[in-house]
C-alpha cells in the first residue's frame, strides 16, 4: 500500500516536472523573437556582417545564427542613446501621439460608453450597432475616406491626422461599455434615491467599478497606437512627424544590430505599461468576457 502511495507521489512529481519543462519550453518558444532581438542587439557590426554574408553574397543561403554573440557589446545601445537623434525624435513623436490618442480616447470613449450603458434612449441599439460595425472595419477600407476628410480639413501631414481618427475610435467605447454594463443597475437606483446626481453617479460609482475595463481599453489602445504603421505612412509625408514604428524600415541592412537594439528599446515602453496596468488589464478582460 505504502509502495503504491510512494509510486503515486513520485509519478505525480515526475508529471509536474514534465509539465514544467513543457511550459518552460513553450515559454521560451513564445519569447524566442524577443530573445533573438535581445541577443542580436549585443552582436557587433562585424559579427552581423559575418552572419549575413550568405544572404548578401548571392541571396541563395540563409543567415547564420548564434544565440550568444562571440564578442558581446552594448555599442548599438550606446549609438541609439547618444548618436541617433533620429531615434529619439521618433520616440518622442510616438510618446506624443500615444499620449494624445489615449487621452482623447478616454475623454471621448468613457462618456460614450457610460451613455450606452447607463441610459436608454431612442435609436440606442442602432447607434451601438453602427459603433460595432465601424470597429470591425479594417483601416484599408476607411483610409480613402479618412484621407479625403483630413485633406479637406487641412490636417494632412500633421500629427492631428493620426491622432484625431484614433481618438474617435469605437474600440475603447466597446471595451469600456462592457465594464459599465457589468455594474448592477440597482446601484444607480440606490444612488439616485439617496439623492446623488448623474455626474456623481458616473464619477463615484461608474468610473471606480469599470476601472478594469478602462485600463484594458487604455493598454490595448496604447499597443495599437504605439505600433501603428499604416496611418502615419498614409497621412504623414514629413518624416520628422513619424512615430517610432517607422524607424526600423529606415535602418539599412548593414545595421541589423542597431535595428535589434531599437526594437528592444521600442518594446521597453510597452513592457513598462503592461507591468503597471497588468492587474487592471486582466480584470478588465475577465469582466468583459464574463459579464458581457
Amino acid at each position: 500500500m505504502m509502495r503504491q502511495v510512494n509510486r503515486y507521489i513520485i509519478g505525480k512529481k515526475c508529471m509536474r516536472i514534465l509539465q514544467l519543462f513543457i511550459i518552460v519550453g513553450l515559454g521560451i518558444f513564445i519569447c524566442m523573437p524577443v530573445l533573438i532581438l535581445f541577443f542580436g542587439s549585443l552582436a557587433d557590426e562585424i559579427e552581423w556582417i559575418d552572419r549575413m554574408k550568405p544572404m548578401i553574397r548571392n541571396g541563395l543561403d540563409y543567415i547564420k545564427w548564434k544565440w550568444i554573440p562571440d564578442y558581446p557589446t552594448l555599442t548599438h545601445y550606446k549609438e541609439l542613446f547618444f548618436y541617433a537623434p533620429q531615434f529619439m525624435t521618433l520616440f518622442w513623436n510616438s510618446i506624443k501621439i500615444a499620449a494624445c490618442i489615449l487621452s482623447g480616447q478616454l475623454l471621448i470613449g468613457i462618456p460614450s460608453a457610460w451613455a450606452f450603458a447607463a441610459y436608454n434612449f431612442k435609436g440606442k441599439s442602432l447607434l451601438f450597432s453602427v459603433y460595432v460595425i465601424l470597429m470591425l472595419l479594417p483601416f484599408q477600407v476607411t483610409m480613402l475616406s479618412k484621407y479625403l476628410l483630413l485633406n479637406s480639413l487641412n490636417l494632412l501631414n500633421t500629427h492631428a491626422a493620426v491622432i484625431l481618427p484614433a481618438v474617435f475610435s469605437t474600440f475603447p467605447v466597446f471595451i469600456i461599455y462592457r465594464g459599465f454594463r457589468g455594474i448592477p443597475k440597482e446601484l444607480y437606483e440606490v444612488a439616485r434615491i439617496d439623492g446623488a446626481g448623474e455626474w456623481l453617479i458616473f464619477v463615484r460609482i461608474g468610473l471606480p467599478l469599470a476601472q478594469g475595463s478602462i485600463m484594458s481599453a487604455f493598454i490595448l489602445g496604447f499597443l495599437e497606437c504605439w505600433n501603428m504603421i499604416e496611418e502615419p505612412l498614409a497621412f504623414l509625408k514629413n518624416m520628422s512627424l513619424w512615430p517610432l514604428s517607422l524607424y526600423l524600415p529606415e535602418i539599412g541592412v548593414t545595421q541589423a544590430g542597431r535595428a535589434c537594439a531599437a526594437s528592444i528599446l521600442t518594446l521597453v515602453v510597452s513592457l513598462f505599461l503592461f507591468a503597471i496596468f497588468r492587474d487592471s488589464l486582466e480584470k478588465g478582460i475577465v469582466s468583459s468576457a464574463l459579464k458581457g
Partner: protein
C-alpha cells in the same frame, strides 16, 4: 498601489527621463559633428582678368659692326652694355695674321688676274675665228641665193616658151578648124594640144619648185651664218665676266684689309651707341655677319615681357597696359603703353613687345606691366574657393539643398560637376545643368565634405 507597481512606475519615469536626457545629448553630439558650411548663390557677372607681367627694357633697332670673316681677334675693348662714343676703338685684329691674310688674298688675286688675261686672249682669238666663219657662211648664203635665182629665172623662161607654143598652136588650130572636120588628123591635133598644155603645167610646177628650193636653201644658209656668229661667244664671255666680278671683289677685300692694317688692326665705332651683343672672342676668328651689335643710345626702347598662355588668351595686339618703371635716380615713371607685337618663341614662351619713346628709361631696366580685361557677362559665377577637382581633372562644386528627413528639414550637400567657362584668380564662370541662380554653392566648410553629407548652413 503595491510597492512593486510603484517601483515600476518610478522606473518608467526614470526611463523617460533618461530618454529625454539622451535626446538632448544625441542632438548635441549630432549637431556638433555637422560640418558648418557657408554657401552663396551664384552671381551673374563678368570677370576681370588682371594681367601682370614684368618686362625688361631693351634696345629697339640694332645695328651691326662688320669686318671680314676669318680674321683673328687680338683684343676686345668693350663689353656688353657698354656705352661708346664715335671713334672709340672696339676691338683689334691680329696684325701679323692680317698681313698673312692680305698676302694670301693678293696672291689669289694675281692668280685670278693672270687667268683672266689668258681668258681674254683666248676670247680674242676665238672671236677672229668666229668672224671668219661668219664671213664664209655669208658667202655661201649669197652663192646659194644666186644659184636659186638663176634656176628660177630659167624656169620662168621655160614657162614663157611653153605658154607661147601653146598660144601659137591654139591660134593655128582656130584658123584651120573649118578645113579639118574629122578623121585621124583631127585626133592628132587634139593630142598635141593636150601635150602642150601639159608642158605648160610642168613648167609652172618647175617654177614653183625652184622658188621653194630657194627659200629652203636660204633658210639653211642663214642658220649657218647665225650659228657661226654665236659659236664660242657664250663660253668665253661668261667666264670673263665672272672672273671680272671676282677680281673686283677681291680687290675690294684687299683694300679693306689694307685699311684695317693701316689702322693697326683696330675697329672703331662710327657712331655713338650701346653694345648689345658680341659675337667675337679673343683668339678666335671672326665669323660671317656682324661681329658686334649695338643700339643707338638715344634711339627707341622696347619693353619685352613674357606672358603665360592663360594670360595670352585675353591679350590682343593694341591692348593698353599701365607701365611702371623705377628709374635709377629713385623716381618712377608711370605711362599707359600699347602692346605692339606678340610672338611665340621656339621654347614655347609667348613674348610681347611694347615700343617706347621715352628716352629716360635705360636699357636693362625692368618695367611692371598691368592690364585689366573685362569679359562678357556670365550667368553663373562662383568664388573659386567653392571649386574642387577630382583625380581625373573634372571640376565640381558642392550644392547645399534642403531635404526633409527624420530630424526635419536639413541641408544636404550634392556634388555637381561643372564646366569652367572662364576664370581668374578669384572667380570662375561655370556651366552646369544642375546649377541655377538660386542654388546654394558651398564656399567653405569646417570639414571635408562628401556627397550626401548633412551640413549646417551658416547664413
Amino acid at each position: 498601489m503595491t510597492k512593486s507597481k510603484r517601483l515600476t512606475i518610478i522606473s518608467f519615469g526614470i526611463f523617460l527621463g533618461f530618454m529625454a536626457v539622451c535626446t538632448i545629448i544625441a542632438k548635441g553630439i549630432y549637431t556638433s559633428g555637422l560640418p558648418q558650411v557657408r554657401a552663396y548663390e551664384p552671381k551673374r557677372t563678368s570677370l576681370t582678368h588682371e594681367i601682370t607681367a614684368t618686362g625688361t627694357i631693351r634696345q629697339g633697332t640694332e645695328y651691326g659692326i662688320y669686318v671680314e670673316s676669318g680674321l683673328r681677334v687680338a683684343s676686345i675693348s668693350v663689353r656688353m652694355g657698354d656705352v661708346f662714343e664715335e671713334g672709340v676703338s672696339l676691338f683689334q685684329i691680329d696684325i701679323d695674321d692680317l698681313k698673312d691674310i692680305i698676302e694670301e688674298k693678293e696672291l689669289a688675286f694675281m692668280k685670278l688676274n693672270s687667268q683672266q688675261k689668258e681668258n681674254l686672249r683666248d676670247a680674242s682669238r676665238a672671236l677672229k675665228e668666229q668672224q671668219a666663219e661668219v664671213a664664209r657662211a655669208k658667202e655661201d648664203y649669197e652663192k646659194n641665193r644666186e644659184e636659186a635665182d638663176i634656176l628660177i629665172q630659167r624656169s620662168k623662161q621655160a614657162l614663157e616658151i611653153a605658154k607661147e607654143e601653146l598660144r601659137i598652136y591654139e591660134q593655128y588650130l582656130a584658123s584651120t578648124q573649118e578645113s579639118v572636120s574629122g578623121g585621124d588628123q583631127h585626133l592628132s591635133r587634139q593630142e598635141k594640144l593636150i601635150r602642150l598644155k601639159q608642158n605648160v603645167n610642168a613648167c609652172a610646177q618647175d617654177l614653183e619648185d625652184a622658188g621653194r628650193l630657194k627659200d629652203t636653201n636660204l633658210l639653211a644658209s642663214d642658220r649657218l651664218v647665225e650659228d657661226a656668229k654665236n659659236a664660242g661667244k657664250s663660253t668665253y664671255s661668261s667666264v670673263i665676266e665672272i672672273n671680272a666680278l671676282e677680281l673686283e671683289y677681291q680687290q675690294k677685300q684687299i683694300e679693306e684689309l689694307k685699311e684695317l692694317l693701316t689702322a693697326e688692326g683696330w675697329v672703331y665705332a662710327a657712331v655713338p651707341g650701346r653694345l648689345t651683343s658680341s659675337r667675337i672672342a679673343v683668339g678666335e676668328r671672326t665669323q660671317d655677319g656682324a661681329s658686334l651689335l649695338y643700339a643707338l643710345d638715344n634711339g627707341e626702347r622696347i619693353v619685352e615681357a613674357v606672358f603665360s598662355w592663360d594670360q595670352v588668351k585675353y591679350l590682343s595686339i593694341g591692348d593698353r597696359f599701365n607701365m611702371k618703371v623705377q628709374l635709377q635716380n629713385g623716381s618712377s615713371i608711370r605711362e599707359d603703353v600699347t602692346l605692339n607685337y606678340m610672338e611665340v618663341r621656339t621654347d614655347g614662351e609667348v613674348v610681347g613687345e611694347i615700343i617706347l619713346e621715352i628716352e629716360e628709361i635705360a636699357i636693362g631696366q625692368t618695367a611692371q606691366l598691368s592690364c585689366n580685361k573685362q569679359t562678357d557677362v556670365y550667368e553663373t559665377c562662383i568664388n573659386k574657393a567653392a571649386l574642387y577637382s577630382n583625380q581625373y581633372g573634372n571640376y565640381y562644386v558642392y550644392v547645399a539643398e534642403e531635404q526633409d528627413g527624420i530630424l526635419g528639414t536639413e541641408w544636404k550637400v550634392r556634388t555637381v560637376f561643372v564646366t569652367i567657362l572662364d576664370q581668374n584668380d578669384r572667380v570662375a564662370a561655370i556651366e552646369s545643368a544642375g546649377i541655377t541662380v538660386e542654388s546654394k554653392i558651398v564656399m567653405s566648410s569646417t570639414k571635408e565634405l562628401k556627397e550626401g553629407d548633412t551640413v549646417r548652413l551658416l547664413e
